[in-house]
């Protein structure tokens, strides 16, 4: 009976094409939508994971100008400094478990990249935010003038990069995070201070009179057990001058708010298109089957069971919807996977494709959904046609 269903579809190429294209669009929407929504979720999780500190302290201007937030979320470049005496003050604040300073610099003149690169330096002895995930890509400690590059940078292990005339060696490349860190370069305090000094010598640094030895850009804080991040944050903002303490969770909550907005819109669109599609498919199947009522009556005459009539209708629907579904998934893979960078830029949110296993899972779900919608759209018609009154239909109306 499968062959009869297939031949029926072949017999009406135009109608079949419409059915196939419609289900391709449906599957594309659901598959693509799911991948985008999941990528946003994965991106957010990765951001949470990468920030790794409860509180971050930056110079007051950097916080008010959103420099720091844009750096983390959008991957824009920026650098700012405050006196390293702040570090001591914060370390002595009640409820602070550990602190670690970071140093920022931006380079427009690196040999690897056409765009500006954010350079982030950390203190190896105290660092607890960057080191854990550098460890994943690079087992050893960084030597002087070693750098680790973000996944989106066009540089590879062993390459030599020059920043402000200082030649550095790429020791490792990080996994993709879907965040602003993908276009950043990481290195140790020792190396970045060398770079800062060189930028000052070349007069390419906006902060003409800073002393690299007594400056930090950002202080990462881990809050001790028994204290809330709010308490410590308020304490710092109250007592340490010209700095702003930011709660990581809060910075992320801005992202997760707009993220759930975007996800929500995508989900609503997906559902609307899906429902509309099923209604159109239902209409199409009803028309197509009603037009052939007599043919189905003939099948009864030559001995087809009621169940078989129903199966033929559902089989036609399944063939059309599943081949459309396969096309839709291919389209989704061809459009979304290679262009995920563009989608990320358009959305301006952390965006990290789920791993292959998850993508295979979404493919399977999309296939099951398109099969289900085929059955949903053709089921009632199939049930109705299986109850046709053969003796009544075939009464010489011709």
């Amino acid at each position: 009976m499968k062959s009869l269903a297939a031949k029926n579809l072949k017999g009406k190429p135009l109608r079949t094409a419409v059915l196939v294209i419609l289900s391709a669009l449906l599957t594309f929407t659901v598959f693509g939508g799911t991948v985008i929504v999941e990528s946003l979720d994965t991106g957010l999780a990765s951001l949470e994971n990468r920030l790794g500190a409860d509180i971050m302290v930056v110079p007051y201007e950097a916080a008010t100008q959103k420099k720091f937030e844009d750096m983390v979320l959008q991957g824009s470049t920026g650098y700012f400094y405050m006196d390293s005496s702040k570090l001591e003050m914060i370390k002595n604040t009640e409820g602070v478990k550990r602190v670690s300073p970071q140093f920022f610099l931006a380079s427009t003149s690196s040999s690897c990249c056409s765009v500006a690169v954010q350079i982030i330096g950390f203190e190896p002895e105290t660092d607890f935010t960057v080191t854990p995930w550098i460890k994943k890509s690079y087992g050893k400690d960084l030597e002087k003038l070693d750098v680790v590059v973000g996944n989106d940078l066009n540089a590879f292990v062993g390459d030599e990069l020059s920043f402000y005339g200082v030649k550095c060696k790429v020791a490792a490349k990080l996994d993709k995070t879907g965040t602003g860190f993908d276009t950043a370069v990481f290195t140790t305090e020792e190396t970045i201070k060398e770079l800062i000094r060189s930028s000052l010598e070349k007069k390419m640094n906006d902060f003409k009179d800073i002393d690299p030895e007594n400056s930090v850009s950002c202080i990462m804080i881990d809050v001790a057990d028994g204290y809330t991040a709010e308490e410590v944050l308020n304490d710092i903002n109250l007592h340490v001058k010209r700095v702003k303490a930011i709660q990581s969770a809060e910075m992320i909550s801005g992202v997760s708010d707009s993220l759930s907005g975007v996800s929500g819109i995508i989900r609503i669109l997906m559902t609307a298109i899906w429902v509309l599609g099923i209604v159109i498919l239902l209409l199409a199947f009803t028309l197509s089957v009603n037009e052939r009522r007599k043919e189905f009556a003939v099948l009864r005459v030559i001995g087809a069971t009621r169940a078989r009539l129903g199966r033929t209708v559902i089989c036609e629907a399944l063939i059309a919807c599943l081949s459309g579904g396969a096309a839709g998934i291919c389209l989704g893979i061809l459009i979304i996977l290679p262009f995920n960078d563009i989608i990320e830029q358009m959305l301006g949110l952390p965006f990290l494709l789920p791993d292959a296993v998850s993508i295979i899972k979404y493919v399977i779900i999309a296939v099951i959904l398109s099969a289900l919608s085929a059955v949903a759209a053709s089921g009632t018609v199939a049930a109705r046609i299986s109850r046709i009154d053969t003796g009544v239909i075939l009464r010489g109306d011709n």
């Binding site: 007599k294 005459v301 001995g303």
Partner: protein, 225 residues
């Protein structure tokens, strides 16, 4: 093999002057036995098609029963009755009944393919039927390309492909010329001689020449047997 209709009636519900029930077939009892060619004649609207549908397992009578070798057709499950229609009955319905998406030969072999496969022997039998019905040249044509008479002969070949014990033909020569009418009647007669029970509804007075028995139907009743 014996097919017996016992006191079958069929009511249709439709608006008329005093009642909304219309009895198209009214308490008819007839037998069709193997090897017999039976012709049913009568005015249009007298209930011939309705009776043929009841006999061939396509229309459940309002009252009465149809027995095939003692088994009541309408007490069987859908699968059992469908199998009987497929294996034991060959029906040539009134009107055009081609499956448009299948070629002529595929239409003819379809009854066999419903419950299995058509082997080489079946295909050569299908070709033989096409040959006998003078449409061999249309074997791979699409139904849409055929004339009314050619479609009719295709439907006859489809009804005969399974060598059924009973053949039901509703106006099988309605759109055929004299030559083809004679061809079809003698062909059906041949099947009866070979042992099938043949039940033909016809307006054609020629049909009587081939009949073992002629029945006349009027207003839902068999008038003369």
């Amino acid at each position: 093999m014996l097919l017996e209709a016992r006191n079958v009636s069929k009511d249709f519900y439709r608006e008329t002057k005093n009642t909304n029930r219309f009895t198209a077939v009214n308490d008819i009892s007839i037998n069709v036995s193997a090897g017999e060619l039976c012709v049913l004649m009568g005015r249009s609207g007298s209930g011939k098609t309705t009776l043929l549908n009841i006999l061939s397992g396509l229309l459940k009578p309002t009252r009465g029963s149809v027995l095939l070798d003692g088994k009541d057709l309408y007490e069987l499950s859908d699968r059992e009755l469908s199998l009987i229609r497929n294996r034991s009955f060959g029906v040539i319905p009134q009107g055009q009944t081609a499956i448009q998406s299948l070629k002529v030969i595929e239409n003819i072999l379809l009854p066999l393919k419903l419950y299995g496969k058509a082997d080489d022997k079946d295909i050569s039998f299908a070709r033989e039927l096409l040959e006998r019905l003078d449409i061999a040249h249309l074997e791979t044509a699409a139904p849409a390309e055929l004339s009314g008479g050619e479609l009719r002969r295709m439907a006859i070949a489809r009804a005969l492909i399974g060598k059924p014990g009973f053949i039901f033909a509703d106006e099988p020569t309605g759109d055929l010329d004299d030559e083809n009418t004679a061809l079809v009647f003698s062909f059906l007669k041949e099947r009866a001689k070979a042992g099938s029970g043949v039940f033909i509804v016809s307006h054609e007075s020629d049909a009587k020449e081939y009949a073992d028995r002629v029945l006349i139907m009027q207003s839902g009743k068999i008038e003369r047997a």
